[in-house]
Each structure stands twice: as C-alpha cells, then as structure tokens.
Amino acid sequence: MKIDTVQAAAQTPNHEQPYAALGLASGEYHCIRDILGRRPTSAELAMYSVMWSEHCSYKSSKVHLRQFGDLPNSERLMVGIGENAGVVDIGDGYAVTFKAESHNHPSYVEPYQGAATGVGGIVRDILTMGARPIAVMDPLRFGPADAADTARVLPGVVAGVGGYGNCLGLPNIGGELAFDDCYAGNPLVNVLCVGVMRHEDIKLARAPGPGNAVIIFGSRTGPDGIGGASILASESFDDAKPTKRPSVQVGDPFTEKLLIECCLEIFAADLVVGIQDFGAAGLSCATTELASAGAGGMHVVLDEVPLRDQTMTCEEILMSESQERMCAIVEPDKVDAFLAICTKWEVLAAVIGTVNDSGRLTVEWRGEQIVDVPPRTVAHDGPVYERPLARPLDQDDLQADDPDRLARPESADELRDTLLRMMSHPNLADKSWVTEQYDSYVRGNTVLSQPEDAGVLRIDEQSHRGIALSTDGNGRYGRLDPYAGAQLAVAEAYRNVAVTGATPIAITDCLNFGSPEEPGVMWQFSQAIHGIADACRELGLPVTGGNVSFYNQTGDVAIHPTPVIGVLGVLDDVRLRLRHGFGRVPGEEIALLGETRAEFGGSQWAGIVHGHLGGLPPSVDLAAEARLATVLRRAAEQGWLTAAHDVSDGGLAATLTESVLCYGVGAEISLDGDPFVGLFSESAGRALVAGTAAGLAALEVACAEVGVPMTRLGRAGGDELAIDGVTPIPLVDLRTAWTDALPRLFGAVTPP
C-alpha cells in the first residue's frame, strides 16, 4: 500500500484530492494549501477536514458565541469558555465543572449506543478538567409520543443513558422529556455531566515542556466512528478497503469506569502536566489542541498507537473516534509511575510521542513522515463564517396568530376535564417510566433528584455544602421568539435551582438548531445567543461553556430553535433544601409567589388541546426572577417553608398536580379571577409554596420588602384537588391520569 508522505505531497502538487467528499469547501481546501505551501498529504487532509468541520471548529457559530466571552468577569469563574469545560468556585476550596453535550444524530441511528456514547463523551470532558464526575442529567426531546419511530428511539435512548451512566456509578439527578412533531427524525439527546475537585487540582488541555512524553491510554483505536477517512482510504489510495465504515460506536462503560479511577489516581499522584480526552476527531483533535496550547510542537509515532484492527490506514487512525481513550502529557521521570497506575487498573497505555518547541506537529508512520503542520492552524485557525441571517418570512404571521381566539373551557366540569387531559399528556405526565431506569442513589450524596425541580448533591459530608442543577429549554417558545425563548429557558433553569433554596451561580448551554446554511435558522441562532447573553448580564451569571448542534433538520424543515440551559447553584447547607410535595407537615398553608397574566402563546394548553402554536411567549422579567430567587433562598435559610415548586409548562395546574401527588396529600385552592387563566397560563417568574401559618406570615413580610407579589391560595389536606370553580378531582383519578400515560405508550414495567 502506498503511503502519501510529506515529501510525496511536495512533489505531486497536482494530485487530485477528495476534499469535497470530506466536507471541505474548495476555499477551505485552498486555504490549507496556502498554510502548508504545498498540497496536504492525505493524512493532513484527514486532520484538517475533521477539525474544520462544523462540529469541531464552530465555524458558523464562533462569531456569535463571542458574546459570551464579552460578559462581565465573574469572581467565581476559574476556567472559562475554551477549555473542555468551565470551572466554578463553589466555596471552601471546592471547584465544580459542568457541561452539556448533544448526541442527537447518533442516537437517531442507533438509539442505545448513540445515547450511551453521548454519556461517555461528556463524562470524559469533565474528567479531563481534573474533576471526579459526580452526576449526570439528560434533557431529551422526541417526535410525537405515539409515533412508531418514537417507540423505536425513546426506549433505546433511555436504556442507553441508563446503561452507561448506571454502569459508571454516576447518579442521574434530572433532565427533561418533551415531545413535539418538530423532533420527529431529529430527536435531541443532550447529556450533562458535573464534576467536583479541589481548587488546586484543576487540569488543562495543554502540552508544555519540550521532552515530555505523549501517552495514549484507555481502549484500543479501532476503525469505528470514522466518517470521511474511509473515503480517503478507498477512493484515493487503496480501493480494496471497505468503503463504508460505521459512524456509530459501541460504548464500553466498564473501561470508562476504570479510566476514571485510573485518571483520578494519576491526578492525585501529580503525574500529568496536561490532559485531553479523545472526542470528536480523535487523535487529530487531541494532538493539535494539546500542542498548540503548550510548547507549540509535538512529534507522534503513529505505529505506537495500540490498534484493534491492524489493517487500519494512517488516515483512519488519525480520525478514529473510538471511545474511552485519553491523552496525557507526562514528564519523562514520571512515565514509569504513570504506566504502573495504568497497569493496576488494567488500562492499556502507550507512549506515542514527545513534546517539542518546533512549532510543528509531525507524525510518522512506518518510517515515513506523513504530517508536518503548524498545530494551531488545525485546532484554532479554522475558517470562520459570518453566515447570512434573515428573520423568517412567516415569523410575523406566527406571532400574529394569537391564542386568544382559541375556545376555552368554561364550566367547572370542562375545567376539570381539561386539567385531567393535560396532565395525562406525555409532555406533562409523570416521568417515572424514564427516571426509574436511572440510578439516582449511587455515591450516596444525592439529596434531591427526579421528580424534584433540580438535582441537589451533597459535596461535603462534614460541612453539608452542596450544589443544585437544573436543565431547561422550550422549543415552542423559541419558535415564537428565539430571543425571548432563550431567556425563558435561562429563567426556568434559574428558577428551578432557586426553588430548592440554592443560589444560582453559573450557566452552561446546549444549543440545538437546524442548518446554519439557512438564513432563517441563523437568525434564530443569533437571537437566542443574544437572549442568553443579555439574560446572563442581567442575572450576573457567567456562561462557563456550551455546545452547538446544527443540522437538526429533515429536508428543509428545521427543529424549533431549542437552546437547553443548565444552571448551577450552590447551597451552603443542603439540609435546608426545599422539596416540592405537600403534606410533609400537617396544616400547611399554600401561596403563589409572582404575578399571573393571561399568557398562552406557546403554552402546553394551546398545544395539547388545540394543536396550536402562535402568538408571543410569556413575557420575561429577569429582575423579578432574581427577586423571587432572593426570597426563596431566605425562606429556605430561615426554615419558613415546607414545600416550594416552580411554575412552568402547563401552568399552575401542572405544579399543583405534582405537589399534591408527591405524598398523596390533596389541597383546597381558590384562585383570584378567571380560574382558567389561573390554572393554565404559563407566566414566568412564579413559584408555588407551602408552609406553616407562621412560616407564611414571615415570608409575606419578606416578599413585601423585596417586592415579590404573594397570593394566598388555600391549604393542603384531604384526598382531592379541590379548586374553586373546578369540579373537585379525587387524587386517585388525578394519579391515574398522570402516571399511566408513559407506560401506556412505552409498555408497563410492572411485571405480570
């Protein structure tokens, strides 16, 4: 087999190369030729093509994402955007790192493995920062719940998220589950991981110190997850090779678990100066990023990479996305100790190269030089596009299509029927069918998990310091107004963290959009980023990192713009956290914080009852959200409340249902004004609370001081949900409606 060497490339400038099949534009290809002063070798072409892909280079999103970097400095932010994950100071010398990633398309093709390897990838990102991964979350979105394809995709995705996370011993502490026509064929499988470390243990992805060893460890490199390399291999150099290499990988959580323990022991022994995981683009990504962030150069002997398949070409080795691999930079006198720890954990490791200050990444293979590039040009100086953007033509019509025209339930019976119908819709129904497939107890520090508003983890058993996390997004709001939709996602995640009594301190994002080549999508994207950045500025939160997933569309129909926001909060004492269920103490009084307006644009009511999406989403008042959070935190610290629950999708009707069904204790409620508006409006900035008479009296004073409207609603007790003007609903009926929905669609898990 002929090897395309650097020397050969210099001598054969006219050799035709399949750059287009690799996804490179002709301008991009010529840019590579300019950088190198010759045509790239096929190995170099492989590297540039994967690293300059949308996924790795953020070429369409970069110009917009800059806004996050322009946010005012936050004292808590220890590592910001640009590293594998951002790091936030949570006090007492602890640092927390968290990030979300999308694995949308692979999960559509092979639901179980796609979702599983999504978990594996984000966990390695967190590990790479020097942190111990401590929990995962999984915001999921699918096509219609009753579609045949959803029956194929959803169970596999849920089993895959659980299969991998459970086997790693990471509690799943929350997520989302939503259904909408727009996700048919484009399910969104986002996964968030959070990790914790001491301040001094933060690790960075860089390769400093000429002479240091480059070590690859973990699984062997195999011919899986190779998109374009096969084209290179077969079409230009070796036609005998199979032309189709699968782009889906099989996850190996056991190896990843060993990799985690092995890395943490290596970190504790202080044996690495830099570390990077192998994610998308494999070796191409890890070597160029490490080199360009460090001493500037690196020499790699590709023959040293442990392979699963000896017939792999050098291009395939460079592009392989085999899972469960890491790359470490180790000082020469520490290599033996490093390898000894790998042996203890039965983790395969090999020294594959050396750091230098040549300013070049050079790769040799079978004695030939196959790569000689300035690593920065591969990792960071990729193309940047300012894609055209345009407000979609139908946006005005959509916003003008006001839900006010829709028929509303009027009689007490109609209101009851509407409530039951909505609570049995998969978007609002009980999610235990999903969440029972996840281990929420492992590690013994889970203070709150599903179905609470946010996951809460104890970080320190002595001091009781802890964190809270929530992920939220709402594509329907995003479609009506991407700027406001993104802000509402920030507001909801912020509020979900706040109702546990935590102080929100940072956000991450996972931005799911259609094709960036469509001006309408690009407009949505830029609006959403503006919205998030403005919201963060107003709430004083840093964006610690994020993920962009484009091309979520079928033909020319894109998904709703769906930015998913993760908010991190901190609790000084997790024992004071608030939960959402009524009835933990007798004689609770119930009140609503925040203001209810008649807001139905994008609401679940309009969608479920009328199949309608139009008008404007609920208005956003971030200052009011911040005031609400302040009051809730004080209430938690002072012990005024026995329950708190945020109001969002499905309005107060959904919030009340969840609070009464939690412990099976009913409530008597009377609402000011129109009960329909009171129950189903989705006005933001609200929380339902319960407490003793004395507790609520104290809260009332605090609310008045801070400027949070508080409305008394009634009291907890009994075995019905009794709302003035609505036919009372026995809890058994409400429970049946709420809990049967998902098992009816996806199969009962109660054994015969």
Partner: protein, 95 residues
C-alpha cells in the same frame, strides 16, 4: 413448525466490550489458548410452515439486528422430530 436460528454478531470493525471482558477473564484464569472472543446474540424462532424466508430476513434486519453495527445470519433448520436439534448442515443465508 420449523426452527429458524438467527445469529447476530457485531461487525468485525466495531469494538466488542463483552467479548473483551470474557477474554480478559480467560486470560486471568490462565486459559492461554484462547486468543480472541466475540460475543453475540442467538435467537431461536419457532415458525409455522411454510417459512417465509423473506419475512424472516426482514425481521432479522429490522428487529433482531441493527445493520449499522451488526451482521446476522439466518439458518432455516428443516423440520425435525420434536425436541431434537437438527444435526444436518443448516441452510444458511447471509445478510
């Protein structure tokens, strides 16, 4: 009634953590003779006659295996006396 056996194995280029785990255990137990292990699935279908081979092929291709990562073979065992496994060479169809 005919017994149809569908065997599903991961494609050779896909990593097989299950097989690796077994190989690791064998190596630790000192069974040096075993050099490689791959683990797959085996389905025994009882099919009423006449067997619609095309339908079986389609079932294997869509439900029993995911062709993105797996290969499969279908073997139709000629009807045999009740409860006895056919010792005859199976009729083998390859995906």
């Amino acid at each position: 009634m005919t017994r149809v056996v569908v065997e599903v194995m991961l494609k050779p280029e896909i990593s097989d953590p299950q097989g690796q785990a077994v190989l690791g255990a064998l190596t630790r137990l000192g069974h040096r003779g075993v050099q490689g292990v791959r683990q797959g699935k085996r389905f025994e279908l009882e099919v009423s006659d006449p067997v619609d081979e095309l339908a079986i092929q389609q079932i294997a291709d869509t439900l029993l295996a995911n062709p993105v990562i797996e290969d499969f073979t279908v073997q139709v065992h000629p009807p045999a006396p009740a409860n006895a496994r056919s010792p005859l060479p199976p009729d083998r169809l390859t995906s």
